[in-house]
Amino acid sequence: MTLLSVSGLEAGYETGQVLFGVDIDVEDGELVSLLGRNGAGKTTTLRAIAGGTEPTVLGGTIGFDGQELSGSAPYEIASRGISFVPEERRCFPRLSVVENIRLAINHAENPKDIETVLEFFPELSEMREKHAKNMSGGEQQMLAIARALAANPRLMLLDEPFEGLAPYIVRRIEDIIAEINDQQEIAVLLVEQNVAAAVAVADYHYILAEGRIVESVSTAQLRANEEVRQRYLGV
């Protein structure tokens, strides 16, 4: 069943239109990546789905579980079962690990238990009372994912979760994302610039260039097709 169905999405900012008809389908339980160079419009796409104050959606539809999302407030979209892990992680800096997670639990329809979430992140369960502002980038990324997982969503939107992290933490986050998808059966839309990381976890890939989806390929096809990688991703 198609869980998320973005169709003909056009969106932009005061400074101009950025997306010119984006089509993305994510099936229930699937792990899909959205690849593209810096400035291609990946973050804009995720924020349009999550209902951020910016960008403005100019056209197209965003269907989730058969219902239209665009025009809904972000908290309504969250309550339908979408958790968003934004680019800058955005843990609440002066809330503790537990408070960050509890906030998500308090406002989800069908949340996970906090101990279940912390079992999933042993690193975090050792710093329950630590404020997010005093945590490392890797720890903050884990907390942002833990917060999203706590809501027990049907779809998780991840915006460049590996950005700026040390290699061993990148591998840890890759494992976490794979587990969230396999064991927890949560569909994931992963935004990435880094093809290697996307290929490591996702089965299917959309390639975005200048606000349009230019290719949609399986992992095997992406590996095989050097021309696509060269042209749109520079690798």
Partner: protein, 344 residues
């Protein structure tokens, strides 16, 4: 209990961050206060209680101002007008409708809270995320409107309902008498301020509000209906200010000028406490209240000791909140408990 622990860590932080000069100044202040207390213990205690009553009223007004500033980023100049309305609503309930004092004490804050909701929904909601100056101008306009409306309905001179009989007496403290109503004011104010503090720092509702202050958009992404919380906080802040007005009108009366007089004092308190710090607003409110009532006593005692009568400056009292603000900002530009963040 944990609130007291909070207070201790906050106080320790303040102490450890103060310079030797500030500590010396603090010591001198304690000595001067001691001198005044010894010279005229009755007057001193009288003024200390007066300062406490006044300070608690300032805290009640400042809390709402600080919360709305922290959560919504709006400088609500109309907050003083809400305080004033609390006084007028109480007067109207008691004097015009014969409603007993205790019931008026409930009705007036709720009424002011409802006015607050109307202001939030009709005016402020359009201003979130805009330049702060726009909010300031809009709420200044609202203040003038509410003030003129009050003048139209209740006249330009002060009104005051009769004090309820069971609160008219005094309590003998040996060196002086304290009006029972003053003790009542302090008790009601303490309970309501403690209640707000508990709500913000210890409940799930407070957690969502603190998150909203730190990152509003992310709070909504996590599933929090933030607009609803804005309205709820505006109701709460307005109602607490209204309760302050209700408590004050019975002892001192209220006039339309109170709207601007008290919003300025509340700004002073918020700035001294550190913008956004609830705890700071509480400390600063009490500090300003006591400073205003005790500094004149200290000066007159000092004038007696030194024989220099010029020290006893007449009419300095109304200037004191602003002098305290200047002094605090010179030493700590962020205010006593201000951080880069809000609502610590």
């Amino acid at each position: 209990m944990s609130a007291i622990l909070d207070a201790r860590t906050q106080a320790q932080r303040l102490l450890s961050e103060s310079s030797p000069a500030a500590k010396l100044g603090g010591l001198a202040g304690v000595l001067l206060l001691g001198n005044a207390a010894v010279q005229e213990p009755g007057l001193f205690i009288d003024q200390a209680i007066g300062g406490l009553v006044y300070g608690m009223i300032l805290v009640m007004i400042s809390l709402g101002l600080a919360l709305v500033l922290g959560l919504m980023g709006v400088v609500n100049f109309a907050h003083g007008a809400l305080f004033m309305l609390g006084g007028y609503f109480t007067y109207a309930a008691m004097a015009s409708y014969g409603i007993p004092f205790w019931a008026a004490l409930l009705i007036a804050p709720v009424g002011v809270g409802v006015v607050g909701i109307v202001i939030e929904v009709v005016v402020l909601r359009r201003l979130y995320g805009k330049e702060p100056i726009i909010g300031l101008l809009a709420t200044f306009g609202l203040t003038l409107m509410i003030e003129e409306a009050a003048r139209f309905v209740w006249g330009a001179s002060a009104v005051q309902p009769a004090k309820p009989a069971f609160l008219t007496g005094g309590t003998d403290l040996g060196v002086t008498q304290v009006g029972t109503y003053r003790l009542f004011t302090v008790a009601v104010a303490t309970v309501s301020v403690a209640g707000v503090y508990y709500l913000i720092t210890r409940t799930d509702f407070g957690l969502s509000v603190r998150a909203g202050v730190q990152d509003g958009e992310m709070t909504e992404f996590v599933g929090v209906n933030l607009p609803l919380r804005f309205t709820a906080m505006f109701f709460l802040g307005s109602a607490i200010a209204g309760l302050g007005g209700a408590l004050r009108v019975v002892e001192f009366g209220i006039d339309p000028g109170a709207a601007e007089e008290f919003v300025l004092l509340a700004f002073v308190v918020v700035v001294i406490g550190g913008v956004g710090s609830i705890f700071g607003s509480v400390v600063a409110g009490l500090l300003v209240g006591w400073a205003q009532f005790l500094i004149p006593v200290v000066l007159s005692a000092l004038a007696v000791i030194t024989g220099v009568s010029a020290i006893n400056v007449q009419g300095i009292s109304d200037l004191i909140p602003f002098l305290v603000m200047i002094a605090v900002l010179l030493i700590r530009p962020r205010g006593l408990f201000g951080e880069e963040g809000l609502l610590e």
